[in-house]
Symmetry: D2
Subunit: 450 residues, 4 copies
Amino acid sequence: MTQDERLQPNAAGAPQQAEADTPSAASSAPGEADEHHCEEDVELSGHIIDSLVLPKVLDTILTLGGDFEFLDVRIGRTPTEPSYAKLRVRGRSRDHLQWILAQIGAHGAVPVAPTDCRLQPCERDGVFPDEFYATTNLHTDVRLGGEWIHVQRQEMDCAIRVDPEARTAVCVPMSDVKRGDLIVVGHDGIRVRPQRPSHRAEDAFHFMQSAVSSEKPKRVLVREIAGAMHRARSGHEKILVVGGPAIVHTGSRDHLCRLIREGYVQVLFAGNALAAHDIEQSMFGTSLGISLEHGGPIEEGHEHHLRAINRVRRAGSIAAAVEQGLIRDGIFYECIRHDVPFVLAGSIRDDGPLPDVITDVVEAQRAMRSLIDGVTFCLMIATTLHSIAVGNLLPAETKVVCVDINPATVTKLTDRGSIQTIGLVTDVEPFLNVLVQTLESLRREAATAS
Amino acid sequence: MTQDERLQPNAAGAPQQAEADTPSAASSAPGEADEHHCEEDVELSGHIIDSLVLPKVLDTILTLGGDFEFLDVRIGRTPTEPSYAKLRVRGRSRDHLQWILAQIGAHGAVPVAPTDCRLQPCERDGVFPDEFYATTNLHTDVRLGGEWIHVQRQEMDCAIRVDPEARTAVCVPMSDVKRGDLIVVGHDGIRVRPQRPSHRAEDAFHFMQSAVSSEKPKRVLVREIAGAMHRARSGHEKILVVGGPAIVHTGSRDHLCRLIREGYVQVLFAGNALAAHDIEQSMFGTSLGISLEHGGPIEEGHEHHLRAINRVRRAGSIAAAVEQGLIRDGIFYECIRHDVPFVLAGSIRDDGPLPDVITDVVEAQRAMRSLIDGVTFCLMIATTLHSIAVGNLLPAETKVVCVDINPATVTKLTDRGSIQTIGLVTDVEPFLNVLVQTLESLRREAATAS
Amino acid sequence: MTQDERLQPNAAGAPQQAEADTPSAASSAPGEADEHHCEEDVELSGHIIDSLVLPKVLDTILTLGGDFEFLDVRIGRTPTEPSYAKLRVRGRSRDHLQWILAQIGAHGAVPVAPTDCRLQPCERDGVFPDEFYATTNLHTDVRLGGEWIHVQRQEMDCAIRVDPEARTAVCVPMSDVKRGDLIVVGHDGIRVRPQRPSHRAEDAFHFMQSAVSSEKPKRVLVREIAGAMHRARSGHEKILVVGGPAIVHTGSRDHLCRLIREGYVQVLFAGNALAAHDIEQSMFGTSLGISLEHGGPIEEGHEHHLRAINRVRRAGSIAAAVEQGLIRDGIFYECIRHDVPFVLAGSIRDDGPLPDVITDVVEAQRAMRSLIDGVTFCLMIATTLHSIAVGNLLPAETKVVCVDINPATVTKLTDRGSIQTIGLVTDVEPFLNVLVQTLESLRREAATAS
Amino acid sequence: MTQDERLQPNAAGAPQQAEADTPSAASSAPGEADEHHCEEDVELSGHIIDSLVLPKVLDTILTLGGDFEFLDVRIGRTPTEPSYAKLRVRGRSRDHLQWILAQIGAHGAVPVAPTDCRLQPCERDGVFPDEFYATTNLHTDVRLGGEWIHVQRQEMDCAIRVDPEARTAVCVPMSDVKRGDLIVVGHDGIRVRPQRPSHRAEDAFHFMQSAVSSEKPKRVLVREIAGAMHRARSGHEKILVVGGPAIVHTGSRDHLCRLIREGYVQVLFAGNALAAHDIEQSMFGTSLGISLEHGGPIEEGHEHHLRAINRVRRAGSIAAAVEQGLIRDGIFYECIRHDVPFVLAGSIRDDGPLPDVITDVVEAQRAMRSLIDGVTFCLMIATTLHSIAVGNLLPAETKVVCVDINPATVTKLTDRGSIQTIGLVTDVEPFLNVLVQTLESLRREAATAS
């Protein structure tokens, strides 16, 4: 291959520019030969090289069976300068091309000549138009009247509902859509902004991106998580904790109580089991009938959680049970004392359940969505079901730490692709213990400094 | 220690018999010295030695801090003869003794002089009396008017509701109890019949009891499972299948379809995901966007399950979608064609969900309970949440096979203590493949034989 | 069935006694009808009911296809009194019977009329006689000249070598046997004493027997392990630590160093990796190239362990490297300073290896065996290969605690059947941290008390 | 930022070229200001964008705290055209720069003005010079007398031994180096060629790179693995199988036997356990005492492997045992019949071991190295220790498939970073079963076609 066969940006700028000037001609002229229907010019800009954006776009095109040609490339000379690339993308058919464009769109490649997004009304409550655009969890804009509008409440596997008059767009789940709602269909006029990994040394999430290993020095990681939580709290951001009953079983309840008391938890999501065993411990000193004191089984202990649930059902709610003095300590006692809102979402494994449990899962999702807005940090502890459910609701930019002794849970979460999810395979109790201690030190340091 | 200090059944029967004749005197005379309140005579009979019943009872007494003395022992001379033992059990206090009696009661030790069970009415809907007896999953009787009545719908972690006029007793979950219902409280008048492991060579569940190993020759196990299913079908018993979406992901859908068509599935329990991916495959040929044909990702495939759900929501139900020709094959197509009832229970992870999903988890539990009666064999495939939920609903005598590639799921199920639960750590697709083939052979053999 | 059909110890002692008096007649008369060859009378004594010995024996007989009949049963009236049972065991053939007897012998059932053990000489170095008796890890005696001799160095999967003149017996592995050595063959004259589970509350190993769960309150367990180690140290018993490189990777090195310094480690077994990464940290401050300070990768860090190994090879040995000041802290530094003997056993994964590594695995086994005598407590930390290898060498009476974050490792160890093995699924660093702290408290308490 | 601040390849080729012409001036002029010592110009060429080479280089520089500036970029216009980039890399110090260069060198970035590699002699047998260059498993060249020489027997964690007269270079492990051997030190004159992922549809390893999931349709993957093995066999390439004893335990022995007979195995690596249980099955029909026929335990079966080992030790070797008719079928029988060389590497868990086991692990590594040359495909089945050990010996270009039901084993292997390693979490028996069947079909197709 000679150098002539290659794109020579230095020497051959002009003709490429000419090509690049007519992208819509190439891609949209109706009635022309088939091959013209099957290509479209897209552009990327920003840190597209070192953030892997450009390579991923190219890799995606080839993997999906498409083809590409560079029309223009300008690479930032230094790490802080942004780069720019313009590509012509080809597919086997118009549909194939649209599919490729949608995929690389999720990596930030936008058509050079964008059109407005297409809207279609719902014909029935709870049913999208057939061709609805299915959302990702990445920051997304839709084009309306020639302008890009930011989509609110970003969430994956939803549709985008547009209010053309108010010029607003919002992610909406299938079950919440109403007849007549205008929904974005197809892939036109949609722009997705990929997450960019950070190289800043002060970023807690710097090198931990795939830190699922159980063989790493974890005190360091815990220190960085504590730092992120401390910064979130100092900045009056919202921290969400999602927890499973192992928090109680492993004897870690007091650590979480302390996090709540000291203002590190603004929202708590859990299931019936966490609350039931938390209250069981308050009432009986056991968890699943095991004494948290001496680690052995207790007389009739395996029934304690049922009796605890039964008593709270009689009281009417956890809050009422706290008021009546039936519950005098524990995670949910602290939540009620410190006005930390919580959602207890039901599952078919539930005993009882507690009266606070939202037994309808779609209602439970709604309740969680209503509390998620503004959450910048999410700590998931020892629960697969709730972690994955909440992970599905969170936008990609929310920092998520998933702690579990089971690598499978951690892998499932981190596989979801957000670069902001850190998995930590470790034991819950010592993790929370060290986290609480580290936050204490950070608070003292901050107090001394000010 | 001399031999004289020991109980010598051969020589010293008479005085013991005398003691044994007055158990109520020893255990129940009111107003006597405290120690007399703290002992009670119990008896065990059946295969109490080789089924580990007696040793477990003794071990339980000592582990719980109690004490015992043998009053009478008659050991079956041969394996087929039953044995008998009478013990005096002592606790530190009346409460301690009651607790010990309840525990050993679950192993089949019944007081020599049983009293009637105690009943108390519910004061509120959905709330048991404080001292409700919490059920196990073992065959249980309650004593009413001097007679033992069998408790119906045996299920763990429920209470027992008694209708004294109809002389019936039934397990009832907390959420289903009504004001005024009479509930068994305390431990008096309750008799639990422990499961007995079988040594019969023809029993499929013979040596497989703890067969969680991934390093065993599994074809043999699969053959025995097939045998049990074949016998169940021949005897017109009900087989319940509980399945997760990995059945579709792993390309095993056709195997399950065939089991349904050929009459090996009488009830199906699953969640939104199994149905959604099953229907996704019917509509798009993919599962989670992966082609089941060539194993690679498909254009826009990750959205297919959402589109499939959306279409069924438009149709109104899976049955309607089958009628309208939207679904032409697959697991739920076969269920509808062959009148196999199913329950789709909701979870907070659900996309959509499908219109058939029961989104209220308590309603879903009720729906499952209503279909469980008469199930003698349950096959759980690749789902932790639903397996554990259904496991909680089943009586101990139902044979359960739990198949999962993740040992943790299998362990959780088999840890529940039913000796009738077999765990099989293996890959779903080859398991179902061999199962289907083996059932085919058994059918052919049976046809030839008759 | 009437009561008459059952063994009635109270009433029918005499005829049974008669039967029981002639066991050898029944079992050993040569040349008689076949069925007589296939039965043998055995007896069990001790806590055979609550320790599950008798039920296991009966279960084993039936599971193996044999049959039994009780000849005599005397059950200890109270928990502290021993019991006694005499059974007639039947097999399908003499071989079948021998096999059953061998199996139940491992549970403590000994023939009523024992004969001497049979001996055969080895014909070649490193090869046993064909019919050698394969040992278990349970306390074993062999009968020689009518007397029972205790077998020394009990170890599973070996043979028993007898010196008839010295009247000694010892377990010997296949590779260590010499031509002419006298080896026990068959199952005659062998008595195995099963382990008995303890109910004593002060026993650290009381209720933890199957404590593999990752969802238990572990601080309690750690406290009990610390208690056992403290008692071992106070009693001048030997504690063996078996460790994997995760001790260094997880930042737990200092904890183990402290255990060594404070006298809680009398022997250390490990592989090349633990030593290489320990010395890497001494020399470079990294483990596998990861800084133990800040948790991130270090310049050229992935090569550090190779360079560390290379330097020690130049020095000639770890001890020489310590002397030359190349190693100034760490696990092996402490071992050398405090005269704690160690074995580094080679594996085919090894880089280097370090000059102290015994590269021949049979030699390494010998080196480990030579240090095992007198070990009463063994702590295995985060190594599958070495844990299983050492587990194979230890007698069942040695208390073993196996700590690993991977449940599979723990299960493999505890599956081996010794009731004295406790598995703990937890993270290494916090485990060792709490262990060290708890031992410190115990030491202080002891100092105050005396 | 204006466009002028960015590198504009289209417009500003000339001045950049000028800069690029004097890289050695910038990077190597001695005695100049310190900052000049800390920069070096490197170039990359090939498919550096879509293969992620360039992005990884940039990411590495930034992650390690360095800085860069683009001097020249020419991007291939189409997917088949190669690209080219020249960068100026800066570090904080000369050492820091060298470290960065070494790291990006492993991704294919080579200095514009390369020097010869530096050589130093070993002072002692088995010890490298202090600054030895530690190898990767990637294709490497060293520069000698101005020419690039390919390094033979590429293997990670070795050093490179150079024979300047013969102009050859070869990887050599620490234990095999001799006094006087010339070893490459530092990072000068070393060029590493990164692996390039393939997008060719016919490549079996196309989209499977991280296919560790247990929830995928595996028949497709197995088909592709079969295709790769079939092509390897047709091309007379060498296939290496590394296997653990689960091959026998799971009843998969016959499948592997068939692979050997039909020419799909040219080399076999295993441990004592695979051979012992293979031979146990030949002699006794059991594996670990479990009948492969009916899945249950066999009389005295747990001792069978010991007796099998003992008999082979008496015979002298596996080959001798085959000759004497002691072994009449099985994996090692087929190896001997079909002249397939094998290495049995010892481990400290070994019973016996068999006389063919190389008990010295360094010798075993040597034996494996001697058979690895020319292996293009490696199938690792159900063994962690041997898989990782062999993985360490293989160059990155060897295609490796690792099959295990335990995800941890698969993850460990695939984490090692070769893009050519495919992990498959599945059950061994059905995997081998389908593999054998698929190869059979491929053979038939090939026969028909020719």
